[in-house]
Each structure stands twice: as structure tokens, then as C-alpha cells.
């Protein structure tokens, strides 16, 4: 496992980690971000930035427990930033807590800081030839070793405070002890396993991890007594985790008028200064660079305190401790451990990836429709600063082609258009297929009367030619003519209904009283309906508002509905017509009959064109489909409920004319 890993499926492809990774150590595969351990410098930016908490850090808890249970000596060395993390406890309560966990001694790393600052001070005084880059920040060291090896000669060849205290313990203080570092840093986990420094620090825990262990072991430092730190006590080295702390500790004076000492922090400024130095643009004697804004702002500091409050906490701690410091003991300790070797070396870790040619970059750009210079938007949404940078990353297998947001939006729009077109084709196909159905239905409906008419015509023709006028059976012939007339009318009715259904033209609309239309419609069919033994019961809510509608079409709706209801009550019954409004938003009309009802399996088909149960032989199956299409065109809707043997209710809703239209 790498020091930082992505929790699978938690990654939501925001590419924040890609954008914020100074080492370009994030690889996107199938939309998931993976940290490439060899490229990772352990700065922890990706952990801090991930809103999904999809990054997890290699845990040292298990190994620490193993060490604690091994029966060997285990020392905890506490990074100088600890008061900023354990702000609610007294520092010496932490010592007690750690000892309760099983650590034999608890030593402050700050003493290591004190030790190395002496080395820095020496180096600074001796060297006038070239720039010195400070090296306590492992992320900076990793970054230079991996990506700017030309700057290696300028790195101060001095170990970090952690390694310094580790060596003091391992080389002199207690060579048989295991050392567990506890701090705010992820890169320390990488430093621990650096082949050049291996074997000094046995485990690295974050403040978070140690708090987790306290919780697991039910240790609450608040309830504990204070125990003093073991080992050599530090002095001003405690200020180390604050930005500029190294200079302060090493007593290197920074003059604002002389630009020979640069203290910088944060990813962007760090990159700027490192690039600048490499290009020879930075003229300074000393560069103190930290990836975070001081270790107090390390990637795994676990509380919400601001940098300033943390800084305050540290300063207060330094001050209060220096008051009680045994100066003689401190000087003696410094003297005692001055023999410990605090030098270190650096190596080039060449992890350079293949570089694409210009043509290859352009080939990749072409795949995301970037054909011209103007197409390169450099919007940065993919996590890379420029389209070309991203193309290089694609070439190197770090990025995926599809990570381009403008390209994806284009694709999405294209797909959306295609979907709309597909939908239109489906609608068209459905329309064509219903036209096919209509044609078949019309053929059936019209061929019957037509056939009859044709037969009568032929019959009459025959009679006229074969029989003398006097002996013609006139009443019989008249009967034929009458039948032909009504059958022809039936054909024209079918055609009319068909046209009504097929014609999608905009209706001629005006403010209309629905009540008037219904009353007029009833006049047309009342007689016929009542002849069938059907009682009509009308109920109108008073003062019904008007609707915007095509009166003729609405009349057609109710005509069809009434006829339909009458046909359902061949043995008589009651027809209820009820018109009301719901809060003046819609006019609701209910047409209820006490007829045969519609079986469940048919209820969804009643509005389909040419669906007919044909119980009444005159049904064309167009009536209700015409009703449906007219109501739809008036932005209304129709619903049907029915129970076989009890009757059917059609509920029609028309929106009441809103003032916007007028």
C-alpha cells in the first residue's frame, strides 16, 4: 500500500486532487483517482482537498500496538506542533496518556530541532557561495529528489528534527529503544522508509491516529495527572513548526531590506520558488520552504483552529516552557549529543515519464475536438493548468481523455440532441403505426356500409333493367334508398371523426362557457337518450368561470361522451352530469353513467383509436380517442374510472383561462 490511497467508489471525479497535487502523482483510471506511490511526495494536499474524504492514509496503529506488545522499549517522540493539536489538554497530560498506552518514554522532537538549528546556523555562516535550501520538510525533500534533482546540491545536508531526535535516541540515549514519531505530517511516513535514513524511526503516527488509540484504550488525557517529558528537554526549537521557526531557532537574522533570506510556504509559492531557483532567477542565500504553512498547518492536523490561534498556542508553550527550563541541563544536553551525526545525503530519484512529441500531443488534443489553438480553453477543470499539460498526462497514462469538461459538455449536448431526435423518430413511428391501425380500422368500418350500398345499387340496376316500370315494387326500392342514405351518412361520419382525430391543427379558441356548451350538446341528444329510458341529472355549480376553448371541439367531446354513456346503458339507467371548479384553477366535469362498465383489462385502451368492444355495432372506436385528443389540445385531461355492472365515470379537467393569455 502507498502512503496515501483512494477509497474506491468514494471518488466523485472532481479532479481536485489532480489540480492540487504538485507532483502530478494522481492517476485517473475509469474515473477514479489513484495515488501513484512512487510519484507521491506525501504533501497531503490531496487528503486535505478531498471533499469526499476519499483519501486514506497508511495507518501506523497496528504496527505501534505490535511494538508496544513486543516487550521491547518503545519511545514516543512528539512533534513540536503537538500543543496545537492537543489544545484542550495540558502538554504533560499527553505524556501520561502516552505512557498509559505503553510508551516507556515520551521525548519532545523539538530537542532535535534545537540540535539541527545549530547545524543550520553553522552552514549559513560558512557558506557564501550558493543558495541553501532547508531540508526539514520531507515533502520538499521528496519533491526536489523526484522532480528537481538539479537542486539536490543546494539542499542543506542536515537531517530533519525527527531524524535528529531518532538518531540521538538510537545512537546514544537508548540504542535498544524503538522510536514512534507522532506528528501532523504524512510525508514523515515516507521519510521513515527512505533507504538513506531507514532504521531510525520505527513508526510514524499522526495526531489523529494517536487520538484514535487513546479512544480505543479508553484513555482520556483530561482525567490524567501531568508527567514531565523524558530525555533532553528542548528550548527554542519548540517554535520550529511555525513558519520561519527554523530561522528563529538557528538565530539566522532575516533583513527585509536584503532579499538574501526567503521564507515561503504553501504549494503554489513553493513551486514558484523551486522553479525560479532552478532557472537561476532567485538570488538568495537561504530558502526556508515548507509545503504547509508551517507544520502547525500540516495535512493531518485534526482540529478547526486557525493558523493564528495555533501559532499563538505554540508561542505560549515556548514562552512558558523556557521560563521553567533548566538552562544548565539544556547546555549540557546539547554538548552531550553534539557528537551525534546529523548529516544526511540526498539521491536522485529519477521517475521521469516519457515525453510526447508535439505531434503526439496534438493527436491527443484532436481526440477531444481541440483542433485549433482557440479550442484549447485551458479552463483547468481537468485538474491540469493547460490543455497541453493534460494531453501530456494522457500520453503518460496519468489522465484520461474524457476528463475534459468542455468536451464532455459538448458530448452531452450532442447526445441530448441525438436523444431528442430518437424520441422524435419514435413519436413519428408511433404516429405512423397508429395511422396504419386507423387505415385498417377505417377500411373495416367503411367497407361494410359500402358493400351494402353497392349491393343495393346493383340490385336496383338489375330491377330497373329487367322489370317494367309498372311492376316495380316502389316501397321496397324506397327502403333500399333509405338504407343506402343512412349507410352513406355513416361512412361520412366515420371519415369526419377520422379527420377530427387526425387533424392536429390549432383550434380556434375564445372565452367560452362550458356550461353553455354542455347544455347545447344535451339538446342534440336528449331526445334520443331519453327514448332509451335514460334519466338525465344535471348539476352545475353557480357562477362557473369561462375557459378558453374551441366551442365546436368541446361540443364534440361531450357529444361523444354522452353517446358513449347512452350506448353503455342499452337497458336504461341514469346519466349524471356534474360541473364544478376546484379553487378556480380548473373546471371539472364528471359524466357518470349506470351502464355496463368497462372491464379492467380494457380501461387503459378506451382512448386508443378504433378500440371498440363492438357491443354496439355502430361503434367506430374513434369516439373516445377524439375526445382524448381534443382535451389534450386544450391542455386539459380526462380520466376514467369504471366498475363492471355498476357504471363508468369520465372526469374531464379544463384549465381555467389564466389572465396571462389575454
Amino acid at each position: 500500500m502507498g502512503v496515501v490511497e483512494t477509497i474506491k467508489d468514494k471518488c466523485k471525479r472532481c479532479y481536485s486532487c489532480v489540480r492540487n497535487c504538485p507532483a502530478k502523482a494522481i492517476k485517473i483510471r475509469e474515473g477514479q483517482a489513484y495515488v501513484i506511490d512512487e510519484r507521491c511526495i506525501g504533501c497531503g494536499n490531496c487528503v486535505k482537498i478531498c471533499s469526499q474524504n476519499a483519501k486514506k492514509i497508511e495507518s501506523g496503529i497496528e504496527n505501534t500496538y505490535k511494538l508496544l506488545n513486543s516487550g521491547q522499549k518503545v519511545f514516543a517522540v512528539l512533534a513540536p506542533s503537538f500543543p496545537a493539536s492537543f489544545n484542550e489538554f495540558k502538554p504533560r497530560q499527553i505524556v501520561t496518556a502516552l505512557k498509559k498506552l505503553g510508551f516507556e518514554q515520551v521525548i519532545e522532537v523539538a530537542f532535535g530541532a534545537d540540535m539541527i538549528s545549530k547545524e543550520y546556523s553553522k552552514l549559513f555562516k560558512q557558506n557564501n557561495m550558493w543558495v541553501i535550501i532547508s531540508s526539514p520538510c520531507p515533502a520538499i525533500v521528496n519533491f526536489i529528489e523526484k522532480y528537481h534533482p538539479s537542486l539536490i546540491p543546494f539542499l542543506a545536508p542536515i537531517v530533519s528534527p525527527m531524524m535528529a531526535i531518532g538518531r540521538i535516541i538510537k545512537y546514544k540515549y537508548a540504542p535498544d529503544a524503538n522510536v514512534v514519531f507522532i506528528g501532523p505530517c504524512i510525508a514523515k511516513k515516507k521519510e521513515k522508509v527512505d533507504p538513506k535514513l531507514q532504521g531510525i524511526i520505527d513508526e510514524v503516527l499522526t495526531f489523529q491516529e494517536i487520538k484514535e488509540m487513546f479512544k480505543e484504550q479508553n484513555i482520556n488525557p483530561l482525567e490524567l495527572d501531568e508527567t514531565d517529558f523524558d530525555g533532553p528537554h528542548p528550548n527554542i526549537g519548540r517554535i520550529f513548526p511555525v513558519s520561519g521557526g527554523l530561522l528563529k531557532t538557528a538565530a539566522i537574522e532575516s533583513d527585509i531590506l536584503e532579499n538574501d533570506i526567503i521564507v515561503t510556504e504553501g504549494k503554489d509559492r513553493t513551486l514558484e520558488i523551486i522553479n525560479g531557483t532552478e532557472e537561476g532567477k532567485v538570488e538568495a542565500k537561504f530558502l526556508d520552504i515548507l509545503f504547509c504553512e508551517g507544520c502547525i498547518n500540516g495535512p493531518v492536523m485534526d482540529n478547526d483552529l486557525s493558523v493564528f490561534i495555533r501559532k499563538d498556542i505554540i508561542s505560549n508553550y515556548v514562552r512558558s516552557e523556557s521560563e521553567i527550563l533548566d538552562k544548565d541541563k539544556y547546555i549540557a544536553d546539547i554538548e552531550e549529543y553534539s557528537s551525534v551525526d546529523l548529516r544526511r545525503a540526498f539521491t536522485i530519484e529519477n521517475i521521469e515519464l516519457p515525453k510526447p512529441t508535439k505531434e503526439e500531443i496534438e493527436e491527443i488534443l484532436k481526440k477531444v475536438n481541440k483542433l485549433k489553438k482557440e479550442d484549447e480553453l485551458n479552463c483547468g477543470s481537468c485538474g491540469y493548468n493547460t490543455c497541453r499539460e493534460k494531453a501530456v498526462a494522457v500520453y503518460q497514462g496519468l489522465a484520461e481523455i474524457e476528463m475534459c469538461l468542455p468536451y464532455l459538455i459538448d458530448q452531452l449536448q450532442k447526445m441530448n440532441r441525438e436523444l431528442i431526435q430518437a424520441q422524435q423518430r419514435i413519436v413519428m413511428a408511433a404516429r405512423l403505426s397508429s395511422m396504419g391501425e386507423i387505415a385498417a380500422g377505417v377500411a373495416h368500418e367503411i367497407n361494410n356500409p359500402l358493400s351494402g350500398v353497392l349491393t343495393y345499387l346493383k340490385l336496383m340496376e338489375k330491377k330497373f333493367s329487367e322489370t317494367s316500370i309498372e311492376s316495380l315494387n316502389i316501397p321496397n326500392l324506397l327502403k333500399y334508398v333509405k338504407t343506402m342514405e343512412s349507410e352513406t351518412a355513416r361512412c361520412s361520419e366515420i371519415v369526419k371523426n377520422l379527420l377530427e382525430f387526425a387533424r392536429p391543427t390549432e383550434a380556434e379558441r375564445e372565452l367560452t362557457s362550458l356550461e353553455d356548451i354542455i347544455r347545447k350538446t344535451l339538446l342534440l341528444v336528449k331526445h334520443q337518450i331519453q327514448l332509451q329510458g335514460i334519466e338525465i341529472i344535471e348539476e352545475y355549480q353557480p357562477y362557473l368561470p369561462k375557459i378558453t376553448a374551441d366551442a365546436k371541439q368541446i361540443q364534440q367531446v361531450f357529444l361523444n361522451l354522452f353517446i358513449n354513456s347512452a350506448q353503455a346503458m342499452s337497458n336504461g339507467g341514469k346519466l349524471f352530469i356534474k360541473v364544478k371548479t376546484d379553487n378556480n384553477k380548473h373546471i371539472i366535469t364528471e359524466v357518470t353513467d349506470t351502464g355496463c362498465g368497462i372491464p379492467k383489462e380494457n380501461i387503459n385502451k378506451v382512448f386508443d383509436p378504433f378500440f371498440t368492444t363492438k357491443l354496439d355495432k355502430k361503434g367506430t372506436g374513434l369516439g373516445l380517442s377524439v375526445v382524448y385528443s381534443i382535451i389534450q389540445r386544450h391542455n386539459g385531461n380526462i380520466e376514467v374510472t369504471s366498475k363492471v355492472g355498476e357504471g363508468t365515470t369520465f372526469t374531464i379537467k379544463f384549465p381555467i383561462n389564466d389572465t396571462k393569455e389575454n
Binding site: N448, L450, S451, G452, T455, K458, K462, L615
Partner: protein, 162 residues
């Protein structure tokens, strides 16, 4: 004058039944009608028509189902299928089920008359053929009987004369 051929019209459409009835009466047929499959089955039990005109699309029992029923019981009655809306499937199915012919609405009524006439003549020929075969068989029986009788008489006479 020979007996009028009896034609059963099965169609749910009143206009079809009425107009065909009028036409066929005029053309010297004896039409009877049924407005549904059920009614047709009942009618068939009472009297056997010479030809059946059968509408395919009917509510309740459709034409094809009725055709199957008819063919089970009255294999020798020719059936002409009629439809207002033809599909290849229904035509093929009809012929497979033993329909004599298939005709589409609207049709000129002469066509029906012509078809019916042809079928009736055909049926009559078949019937006559059968009758003729029967008659020939009877004649042969009589002839043989006569010869045998004469021989017997001759034998008797011979014995008497002896």
C-alpha cells in the same frame, strides 16, 4: 322448376345481411341469415344450406372459429369467407381450415352470385354423379337377378320335362 339453393349468410352487419338477402332472392337463391356464430350453429342444426357465406370479423365467435366448427360437423358444405378488412394471415388461415373461397368487401354482388352459382352447379354435378353411380349399380343388380331367375326356371323346366 328445381329447388332454389339455400344460402346461409353469417354477418354481424345488418346492412350486409339485408342487402345480400335482397340480392340473392332476386337471383333465385333462398337466403337465410344469422347475425352471430351462435345463431349460425343453431340454424345449421335445423336445416343444411347448400353454401355458407361467412364474415370473418364478428364479435363473439369470429368467422375462423365458426369455420372450424362447421368443417368438423358438415364437411361437405362449401364455405365462402367474407371480410371487410383482409390480411394475408386471415386468408391463409381460412383456406387452411377448408374454406372454398375468400372474398373481400366491398364486392360487386354479381361476383357472389357467380361464385354461388358455380358452387351450386358443381355440387349438383357431384350429387348427380353419385346418383348415377347408384342407379347403375341398381340396374346391374336387377339384370343379374333376372338372369339368375331365368336360369333357375330353365333348370326347373328341365327337371319337369324330364
Amino acid at each position: 322448376m328445381p329447388e332454389k339453393p339455400k344460402i346461409l349468410i353469417v354477418d354481424d352487419e345488418l346492412i350486409m345481411r339485408d342487402s345480400l338477402t335482397a340480392w340473392l332472392e332476386e337471383d333465385n337463391f333462398e337466403p337465410i341469415t344469422a347475425e352471430s356464430g351462435m345463431q349460425a350453429v343453431e340454424l345449421l342444426e335445423k336445416s343444411k344450406p347448400d353454401v355458407i357465406l361467412l364474415d370473418i370479423k364478428m364479435p363473439g365467435m369470429d368467422g375462423i372459429t365458426l369455420l372450424k366448427k362447421i368443417k368438423e360437423k358438415y364437411e361437405d358444405i362449401p364455405v365462402i369467407m367474407i371480410t371487410a378488412y383482409a390480411t394475408v394471415d386471415s386468408a391463409v388461415e381460412s383456406m387452411k381450415q377448408g374454406a372454398y373461397d375468400y372474398i373481400m368487401k366491398p364486392f360487386p354482388p354479381e361476383k357472389i352470385s357467380y361464385l354461388l352459382r358455380r358452387i351450386v352447379d358443381h355440387q349438383r354435378l357431384i350429387k348427380e354423379n353419385i346418383r348415377f353411380k347408384k342407379e347403375r349399380k341398381t340396374f346391374l343388380h336387377i339384370a343379374i337377378g333376372v338372369v339368375v331367375n331365368i336360369i333357375i326356371l330353365l333348370v326347373i323346366f328341365y327337371f319337369i320335362l324330364k
